[in-house]
Amino acid sequence: MSNQPVDVLIVGAGASGAAIAWSLCETRMNILCLEQGPWVKSETFPSQHADYELYRYSSFSCDPNVRGLPEDYPINADDSPITPVNFNAVGGATINYLGHWPRFHPSDFRVKTLDGVADDWPIDYQTLEPFYNINDRIMGVSGLAGNPAYPPYEPPLPPLPMGKLGHTLARGFNELGWHWWPSDAAILSRDHEGREKCVNAGVCDLGCTTGAKASVDITYWPLLERRGVKLKTRCRVREVTLGSDGLADGVLYYDEEGRLHEQKAEIVILACNGVGTPRLMLNSQSGRFPNGIANSSGIVGKNLMFHPLSGVVGLFDEPMEGFKGPMACSILSQEFYETDPSRDFVRGYGLHSGRYTTPMTYTLGGYGTDRLIPWGEEHRRKMDELYPFLAGLTVVTEDLPREENQVTLDPELTDSNGIPAPKITYTLDENTKRMFAHAEARAREALLAAGAREIVFPGGEVWRRAGWHLMGTARMGNDPERSVVNAWGRCHDVKNLFIVDGSIFVTSAAVNPCSTIQALALYIGDSIKKNLANLFD
């Protein structure tokens, strides 16, 4: 089937696709977004049901291989200690993310200059700053101004309550004289633009029924639909097609009934995350690009970065009320964020105090981990004597880009449309391992300083089901041989093909990437608008 051509075609209706659609709708161009997932409704979220925790192991698992819904594509992560997680729906992973919202540090954009590793970004913090601010306002971000780890900025809403757990851990950081700050969160501390504030239900990963957590289906998309941006759901793009002029001329996609459509467009924008985007590019083969579209450099899919995570848990004398309040974000310490030459690793990490998970998930092994607690008497003891009194620190490490960590096409595995599925090949960097050792020791120190009676889990285990942050697989740069897109997201090889998701990150920083992904998408939209007359020069 052949559809009416459009001006702008965006693949993916998640965080970055929605943001760039908003930026571009100002031009009144005909914009179409294709999304392989459906609309999800807050009435159907698991948190509406008493057995909500069970959904973490079935239809609302963060792991697409566990969910196995029609809209999901399988990911072969057998050769990786970390498995990528996502969500396929309008809103993408903002539906089941935790809304933790730290920005990158200015240093994160120039690690080559500062530390001699990886590469510098072709843009800096100042370039993105106005777009961080715009996005914070649209998403509705809560936080406290004045964090000394950043240039000055003011989140639009006051910070979320830190909770008992946050206050306790803050005392530990104070004791040691370490940096800490209440986390920025894309969760409303006050009613904002028609959305109601957080009620501390605490299961942000199962969809926010209140609508206090900013998922783009309730922030950007209502604005976009009223501005005439079209969105087709359950449409899975097979490949980006190349015209005889060397420009992308559209895509081929399957609709819900499996019919193949040809959709022509003047501009194609990929917003499918750090695994989905390279997969789509590698699947888009042509005479000119036998190894995938815009891949003359051969690095599409390479340099995959996660944020390897680990955790340390302490046992306190008082109940920590960890289940109360937004899961991911209470306070974080960035005392060890920047490089210190006296340590045996470069770059650094954050110590994040998320709140604690719900009882059944704790029983079944934890959030992102698999430390099953036993049945019988020992089960009873752990639930009574441990669970309420636990508080932990999550170690979030900067992952350095390495070409051997990559997304390729699996030779056999496909999705339900027969499109080759991605395969992940990934090993932990030696730098990361040394960082973990340092970080876990510091986390233990902080928990003990905060009054922990003992350390019940000392770390030493990388969270497996925690590949939330998918970055680096189609990176930005000025050198076409070492990067896929230029400083404003345009493919070096195909001048009307843009990428706006985490794929274009040059380095990973050591913070959750969503606010930076969206700021980048807005910045790229702005660059497209400024360059419209000579976009393909």
Partner: protein, 249 residues
Amino acid sequence: MKILVPIRRVLDTDQKIQISSDGSLDDTGLQYVINPFDMVALEEALRIRENSGKGEVVCAAVGTDDLEIQLRTTLAMGADRALLAGIDSQVDHWSAAVILQKIVEAEHPGLVLVGERMAVDDADMTGSFLAALLDWPQATFASQITVLGDDVQVDREIDQGIETIILPIPTVVTCGLRLNEPRYASFRGQMKARSMPIERMSPNDLRTDLQPRWETLNLKLERSNRDCVFVESVDELVRSLRFDAKVLE
């Protein structure tokens, strides 16, 4: 026939505005759009030109340089020319009409199609002020426009239904949202529009002395937080409605 379409911009009405501490509008990160009623007027002008196979559509904006973005959009949609009467201060409906009068006198359009009102303040004054200043006939609240040789037939939406009138050209018609569905501004159109000039003029060029008829003293947001009070009994509810909310006598 030449058709003049005045273009004004408004904040995207789906976004919530905020007021800064100094009482001014804080528009950080908010997008401006062409006043939706003006957009309908432009679409109508383009269709009249396309149906007749001849003529010219000229868009004119009165205000700051920021309006260039909206004027470029009109060119991308298909307007032939765009004029910007640059004024630094806030432009009220009267001042806009005074300047538009000068533009009309220089351009000699047969039709002025203008949005029937501004989405920002719901005021429907500009078109009528302009018709009065020009001493031209006017048809307001149009839901259909047909050009008949030297006349134009307009269906007007009035309280009793639709009123059809015929006016001699030149005339001013103010356009309602039912007229049409405005088109997209295509990418090819955008590329073309970027290389087209925006013709600029100042109040001096127009030999007019602006005397604004209104002044903004301050802005404030309507309180939108609803207070929720739980009451124990019907009596208490009635008491509360009567004495606290003062909605019952």
